[in-house]
């Protein structure tokens, strides 16, 4: 069955909206760093995001936690239409943000405390983690992922990949050129022998 151009466009649009709809209510926030108005407040890592019917602000103290250091996550969720805070239970979970780790641990389930949901944490090991806040509203589940780095970042990965690609490309070109030269020499030798 062949689709006309117009139908193809409609199919693509429907698929696109389908993907967007399926993605809704699950976000990975982009962190920014801010210093509180009160200069005694330590810098915090903050994510402001929009998810479904809510604006969510997510803050982590301190912004750069170290292993075995007490930290805290604050979550504010207010409805986009009327600004009223979400009043229910929020479950905080954590998982290691590395490629082969998928073990999830529940940090706690929190009730609202003066428009804020607070969750404490202590990490023993350095690494990249994803903290997840989950709640339900209007029968729909909401999941917000929030990246958190404990300790100093590891940067060997990108440099290693870059060096590996460069070495591979340069070696491949070198080998191909050697083959080319060898082929040319052989061709010349054959021509000389024939003449």
């Amino acid at each position: 069955m062949r689709l006309t151009k117009t139908k193809t466009v409609w199919v693509i649009l429907l698929l696109w909206f389908g993907i967007v709809a399926a993605q809704a209510h699950h976000v990975l926030g982009r962190p920014s760093y801010s210093l509180g108005e009160d200069s005694n407040t330590p810098p915090s890592l903050q994510v402001e995001t929009q998810i479904g019917d809510f604006y969510v602000t997510y803050m982590a103290f301190p912004a750069f936690p170290k292993p075995n250091e007490q930290g805290r996550v604050n979550l504010y969720a207010s409805r986009i239409d009327n600004g009223l805070p979400f009043d229910g239970k929020v479950t905080f979970k954590v998982r290691d943000d590395s490629w082969f780790a998928n073990e999830v641990e529940t940090l706690g389930v929190q009730d609202i405390d003066e428009v804020v949901y607070r969750q404490g944490f202590i990490f023993k090991d350095e690494g990249d983690y994803i903290i997840t806040a989950e709640f339900e509203s209007g029968g729909e589940p909401y999941t917000i992922d929030f990246p958190l780095r404990i300790g100093e970042p590891l940067a060997v990965g990108p440099i290693g990949i870059t060096v590996a690609i460069l070495v591979f490309v340069l070696l491949a070109v070198n080998i191909l050129q050697r083959k080319r030269r060898f082929g040319l020499k052989a061709k010349r030798a054959r021509e000389e022998n024939n003449s």
């Binding site: 696109w16 909206f17 967007v20 709809a21 993605q23 809704a24 209510h25 699950h26 976000v27 990975l28 926030g29 982009r30 962190p31 920014s32 760093y33 801010s34 210093l35 108005e37 200069s39 810098p43 995001t49 929009q50 998810i51 479904g52 019917d53 912004a63 986009i80 780095r149 970042p153 940067a155 990108p158 440099i159 870059t162 690609i165 460069l166 490309v169 340069l170 070109v173 191909l176 050129q177 080319r180 030269r181």
Partner: protein, 510 residues
């Protein structure tokens, strides 16, 4: 906390509008001249500048020293991005790349043409890795030296890269992410190296690099150019070292022949021609910034799209820094069920803004085609008149970037002294406020420059429209001013909208 820069005061807006109205009247009423100003001055005749130009033409070392500095800074940017603080305003990767370099680069094009390409760090690193030479001509076997496939010999890849870069910059937020900025830098090195290892010359610079092509197209409006000192010497030349190179010096990496060079778009200012010419006949000269876009540059379909793309994307930069954009994005996100960074909503907005000027331009070209007394091919007219979008994009790009550079680059010396931002804290509200209140130059001067630039771009666009429209008729018919009306509507619409954007308060980036 979001802070905004104040927009252009209304007084400046009205001043610009009055001057523009007079300019339109002038163009409609006066009879057009034959050609643009051809005058130029050899840079070497200017004291100090001349000596500097000679220094760079005579020996490869001054340029090589600049390349070393550029590569050192670039590697520091990568190190700072990967190992430094994630606070964008305290990390060299984000401040140098986005606030100083990317904002300042466009301004330098006006004064120095494509000089950036001569010291570009990713091209330099790729050259050193592939050719194993600091500057001398490399062994032909260092690269596969393949010809770029015919389908890729255009600027469509560069346009796609520029769209991608804008999406990463404004949609994903690379500008406020030092780590992602470093990754982007590494990707540029890898791409430049692969291209150099596989294809002949500098195919990456010519067809793919979004920075190189942006600089190249804007260089058409630069006040300097690299050209033969005596045209006759080039006409009589049979050896063409500028094109073929010498034993020591590389040939022109973008296959330009100095004797027939009429546009600077693909010149990378690498100095190979100045050093290889046995007659010492190639040098820098000052010129009217309008002359190339008005009459010398040749129209091409892909290049026309790149210029219109530049226009759409520079305007898009401005739009994304307005309060109404964020509100609109949020509402649209809710409508289609988009969440988080609203990437889908952003992408739809970006596509709309990208195609809006192209659509308007196409309609007006169709109208011009209808008004013209002779039959003109749509594609030909589209390509020929697309040059009017170049000054419109260029001046708005500079006016917008001036805001970033002048209002946001305070504190850069602190970042230079602590490039990785070790133990640095995020900017407090007080520091942010102080930066906001203390721009590098006085606010009135900034406003004057912005208004002046918009008028200048408007005037250049009118000149280009008039000369190129006349050229289309090529003396077959008598000239009528109303042939220009659709083009004037386009120029007024774009400039009017960009001026309106400048009047709005702009959200501070970091």
């Amino acid at each position: 906390m979001t802070m905004t820069h104040p927009g252009l005061p209304e007084l400046w807006l009205w001043f610009a509008l009055v001057v523009m109205a007079l300019a339109v009247l002038w163009v409609l009423v006066r009879s057009p001249g034959k050609s643009a100003t051809q005058g130029f001055v050899n840079v070497e005749r200017i004291p100090l500048l001349g000596q500097l130009a000679k220094l760079f033409s005579a020996s490869p070392w001054p340029l090589l020293i600049l390349k070393f500095i550029s590569v050192a800074l670039f590697l520091t940017v990568i190190a700072a991005g990967l190992f430094g603080t994630p606070i964008p305003e305290r990390n060299l990767a984000t401040t140098l790349t986005w606030t100083v370099w990317w904002a300042g680069l466009i301004i330098t094009v006006f004064f120095l043409g494509s000089a950036w390409c001569a010291v570009c760090p990713w091209d330099t690193i790729a050259s050193w890795l592939v050719k194993h030479r600091l500057w001398r001509r490399a062994d032909a076997s260092s690269s596969l030296g393949l010809k770029v496939p015919k389908a890729w010999r255009n600027v469509w890849p560069a346009l796609a890269m520029f769209v991608g870069l804008t999406w990463l910059e404004l949609g994903v937020g690379v500008t406020t992410n030092p780590y992602a900025t470093a990754l982007l830098s590494l990707v540029m090195i890898v791409m430049a190296t692969i291209y150099m290892a596989v294809f002949e010359g500098k195919a990456f610079c010519k067809h793919v690099c979004p920075v190189g092509r942006t600089v190249g197209f804007y260089a058409q409006l630069s006040m300097v150019e690299l050209r033969p000192r005596q045209q006759q010497t080039c006409t009589d030349c049979t050896t063409m070292e500028c094109y073929h190179g010498t034993e020591e010096i590389e040939p022109c990496p973008t296959h330009l022949v100095m004797g027939t060079l009429t546009q600077s778009t693909y010149c990378t200012s690498c100095s190979a021609c100045t050093m290889s010419c046995p007659h010492d006949n190639v040098g820098w000269r000052l010129r009217s910034p309008a002359v190339e876009a008005i009459q010398h540059a040749r129209p091409h379909w892909d290049e026309a799209w790149f210029m219109l793309g530049l226009l759409g994307l520079t305007t898009f930069h401005g739009i994304t820094m307005m309060g109404f954009w964020e509100q609109g994005l949020s509402r649209f996100g809710q409508m289609i069920g988009d969440s988080g960074q609203l990437i889908w909503s952003f992408s739809v907005g970006m596509v709309l803004v990208f195609f809006a000027p192209v659509l308007l331009y196409s309609l007006l070209i169709k109208l011009t085609q209808w008004l013209m007394p002779i039959e003109v091919d749509f594609k030909q007219l589209f390509s020929k008149l697309a040059f009017i979008s170049l000054p419109l994009a260029f001046v708005y790009h500079i006016a917008h970037n001036l805001n970033h550079l002048i209002r946001e680059s305070r504190g850069f010396t602190d970042v230079l002294l602590n490039p990785l931002g070790r133990d640095a804290l995020p900017l407090s509200s007080n520091e942010l406020h102080m930066r906001h209140m203390n721009p590098l130059i006085s606010e009135q001067l900034l406003y004057g420059l912005q208004a002046g630039l918009m008028i200048f771009g408007f005037w250049l666009a009118l000149q280009i429209l008039q000369k190129r429209s006349m050229e289309t008729l090529s003396g077959q018919m008598s000239w009528r001013s109303h042939y220009l009306l659709p083009g004037i509507v386009f120029i007024i619409s774009v400039t009017g909208f960009n001026l309106w954007l400048l009047v709005q308060p702009m959200i501070m980036r970091m």
